[in-house]
Homo-oligomer: 469 residues x 2
Amino acid sequence: MNIILLSGGSGKRLWPLSNDTRSKQFLKLLKDDQGNLESMVQRVYRQLREAQIEANIVVATAASQVDAIRCQLGDKVAIVEEPERRDTFPAIALSCAYFALEQKRPEDEVVVVLPVDPYADLEYFHTLKDMERAAEAGVADLILMGIKPSYPSAKYGYILPEIEPGSMCEEETGIYRVKRFIEKPSETVAEQLISYGAAWNGGVFAFRLGYLMETVRHALPEDMSNELSYSKIYENYHSLPKNSFDYEVVEKAASIAMLPYSGTWKDLGTWNTLSEELAESYIGMVTVGEEIRDTIIVNELSIPIIALGLSNMIVAASPDGILVSDKGKSSYLKPYADTVYERPMYEERSWGDYKVLKYQKTRSGERTMTKLLTLKAGQAISYRSHQKRDEVWIVTDGYGQLVVDNVMKTVRRGDVVYIRRGQKHALRAYEEQDLSCIEVQLGRELEENDIELHPWVWACEELYSERLA
Amino acid sequence: MNIILLSGGSGKRLWPLSNDTRSKQFLKLLKDDQGNLESMVQRVYRQLREAQIEANIVVATAASQVDAIRCQLGDKVAIVEEPERRDTFPAIALSCAYFALEQKRPEDEVVVVLPVDPYADLEYFHTLKDMERAAEAGVADLILMGIKPSYPSAKYGYILPEIEPGSMCEEETGIYRVKRFIEKPSETVAEQLISYGAAWNGGVFAFRLGYLMETVRHALPEDMSNELSYSKIYENYHSLPKNSFDYEVVEKAASIAMLPYSGTWKDLGTWNTLSEELAESYIGMVTVGEEIRDTIIVNELSIPIIALGLSNMIVAASPDGILVSDKGKSSYLKPYADTVYERPMYEERSWGDYKVLKYQKTRSGERTMTKLLTLKAGQAISYRSHQKRDEVWIVTDGYGQLVVDNVMKTVRRGDVVYIRRGQKHALRAYEEQDLSCIEVQLGRELEENDIELHPWVWACEELYSERLA
């Protein structure tokens, strides 16, 4: 089975924990079997292994999320990086092109598309295998997972199956032909639909690779569809229709079947729904007292929160800000979170993460940003220079290799490095432990895009092991 | 008039804004006539000037508060520093000794004792003048202010006056003789007392300087009372009875009179009472929405707070922590605040203030503390050395004079200084503007008391003006 994990857009519905670079799927708020905190994307990746699905997996995502995915899933996961954000059809098309044209997978293999964020149990992943079998057997061009609705929601799309006697695709597996789709009906209509056997469309699709490649060929300009290659599609990504998979593929399909799933399924997209599945009611430095009820508190800061006499509330604190909200009212958060946005104060990168500790501005307009950088053991900040700022690094933990203007040296706790504007610099943590340092940026303009990358080949492992000895 | 402003103990009833070094009287939460934020101590000091009281003022306080008082009231205010915390009688006794023996004030002058924290209006200060007149006229040994109770509180002490006809000291000024004192009665008893004309004891006393000096002489060991001097009393502070002024002086006085005051008077000692007088409902970076009612939010952090759907709540955030509490439940805060205490993350010093930005500990037990220091223009960090830590200073704003091991130089934004353990160092901001720097402390133990002070005479103003030119 080939699996496309769709790691979707960013947003602020879970502000201050989620922001424009840190999407909800990367928040470590759930708990694995060992009691460790894990994120939605880590959970789905773990569950795929636990369900013993032998799959060729790619994660389709935007450039802004690549670092976070590498940080959470490791270096080995294959990533299809969307050249720009263009909805789900182009993302799935590019991923299929990667399977067919880059990995040279046979076109009769099955592809399953899966969002990374739903909260489901292991049965959900076993259902994927049934979908694969149905697609292989040619039951229909497209097999959709139909999620048994737990209430008449007006937020989801509904799949209405043919329920007349004899209309089932396969009696024994319970696969239905699909009659039609209804997008976000009113609650009253939703109630009726459910009584007719309709299910929620959870965005899980199975199809043969060749079926989708045919659609891709049709979607591209005529002069391009000959001698297709992955890089050709990548470069012409902007010419693929900016449309959802549902509109571009599902609505045009000749035959569609639905495989029902009735286990746990939750969309943890808002504080209210997330609060039900949180690993613990209180995460981080939290002290509660005096009649606290039905309240969740997530504290990512290194200062304590004391909560007294709260009822039915959400408190969340991160380097980006603090939310204090009635649970019901938390769904109105987005417009407020959009107004306070300045810049992310915490980001995961491929090499580790950073936290902004302080941002200062002098009367004359000079700016200073103080950050804590943590490089994971063996990871490196790539060779770079800045035009508009000096940087001071004070190593506070671990040791590593520093390069400034092609001169390499070992640095360790207590070392201070002054990098002037224009100087090329890179830093790598040795394999043994993480390296942390305080970074003080000084300049009139401090922008993340003031960066020029330079090639640098790190000394081989032997060389720097030697230096350490 | 001589005035003793009693700047009382520290506490955590207003945590996270108040802590063991930052008492409630220093919190800038009130508003002056120009709309600027001011603290309780700044308010009382301003009101004394506005009431045109020509007074010789000293502030009696503990060593831990001297820096905060200098920072908020300026260099010129006289401070009597208590050698140790020993209740109100020794503090008032030492202050009177300062008037009589250090300033050589005549013993028939009147002294008025005033706490710094009640919230009152200007009439309160005019009442002080009436108390002075009554003490000068010899109406009684002690004149107390009787505050008209606004409700039968069980938290305060009550003064019961003689109300029989003809028992008034002075008919025209409304001064009563005091019959007796009742400390924290039940609410039922308080109600009765109020019906008999009792008033709250607000801790405001007037007496002749000589009267108290007599008490001081009696309170000291016999061999000491001859040839008294201020320094002698200061050095033997520990031998003064550790008792309140009420128990040591008021209860033993031969004649006591009460001067009523019926204007505004509030004890802003808890979040609940403070919330009524707060300059604004929302102070700092606060965004509110979605049906917020009867809620106060004070944000001293540099990240935003978003509040949705709150009712009757208190939210307060400072570098020490975050409080989210129901208003009524906020009076139960203290025991919880006591458990979370680690170290103050923000302190005002005579030279300015510091904020702790980050505290880190490595696996091997090495510690790092990153602070933002702000030196007020013209102020200096005194010459010092540390045995157990290195310090790195990165100047981020302004310029000043740095001394390391007796070598002086000018530093400015962008300069990095590495001070090794044992090295003597001092820093002074030039007169023109504040100086700020990021300080990174590195050591196995980072303690505020790891400090040795050394003498240093700063170069005269002319010299360093020259260096600047």
